[in-house]
């Protein structure tokens, strides 16, 4: 039983990131959407999550809109809208953090 979590606020909204992070279980997936993709600007936010055996993605359209590029070794993967659908299916449920 794994969960896809979506998160749509920048890390400056620290209580939301904190609440989301403590709900993540090993094997879950975190998809950063909307302003959530600002979390990719600084690897420290995502590195901790990835270290806990969580896959982290960021939505391509939102990255592009905001001019954020992923550094190659961050461990964060880019997701298209189709990937978003696929991840929703591969996991048993979707929880939205907003």
């Amino acid at each position: 039983m794994s969960t896809l979590h979506t998160l749509n606020k920048a890390p400056s909204n620290s209580s939301l990131w904190h609440d989301c992070q403590r709900a993540l279980q090993a094997g879950d997936t975190l998809l950063l959407i909307e302003n959530g993709v600002y979390g990719c600007a600084d690897d420290t936010f995502t590195a901790q999550i990835i270290a806990a055996d969580i896959k982290v993605y960021a939505l391509r359209a939102d990255l592009a809109a905001r001019g954020i590029t992923l550094s190659g070794d961050s461990g964060v993967a880019v997701a298209s809208d189709d990937d978003f659908i696929r991840l929703s299916i591969e996991n048993n449920k979707v929880i939205s953090w907003f």
Binding site: T6, N8, I33, E34, N35, A61, D81, D82, F84, I85, S88, I89, K93, V94, I95, S96, W97, F98
Partner: protein, 130 residues
């Protein structure tokens, strides 16, 4: 797979309604079924045909309208959330003695029970918050 979409964010003050739109479009394009799109909270403002954005800006009502006609989508606006925010169809405008209405098909007003039903009948419920 059968999806239902719950939208909670404002169309004017968040990106939620548009992200949900892209998601719905992608799900349909991949051959999945979207059982219902349920507008709740501030997102009920998305259905108003009185929203008049600049010609070169996104008209979110229009986007949903076209997607719904194309795919026979069930677009439900929560009636309780809508009425208190001034979103009315002709029937409710008459019932509440208001001089105008601002939503029409394919958007329709209905109760929260439609959300419960969507939760039960869908394989996935995906929420888009503000």
């Amino acid at each position: 797979m059968k999806f239902s979409i719950l939208i909670y964010g404002s169309p004017h003050n968040s990106q939620a309604v548009h992200t949900a739109y892209r998601y719905t479009k992608a799900a349909l394009a991949a051959g999945h079924e979207v059982h219902r799109v349920f507008f709740y909270g501030e997102s009920v403002l998305s259905g108003s045909f009185l929203n008049a954005p600049q010609r070169d800006e996104q008209n979110i009502m229009q986007l949903w309208h076209e997607l719904a006609l194309h795919h026979d989508l069930d677009l439900v606006i929560c009636i309780a959330a809508a009425l208190k925010r001034g979103v009315l169809d002709p029937t409710e405008a008459k019932r509440h003695e208001k001089p105008a209405h601002n939503i029409e098909a394919p958007f329709q007003l209905s109760g929260l029970g439609q959300l419960t039903e969507a939760i039960l009948l869908s394989d996935r419920l995906v929420t888009f918050g503000g």
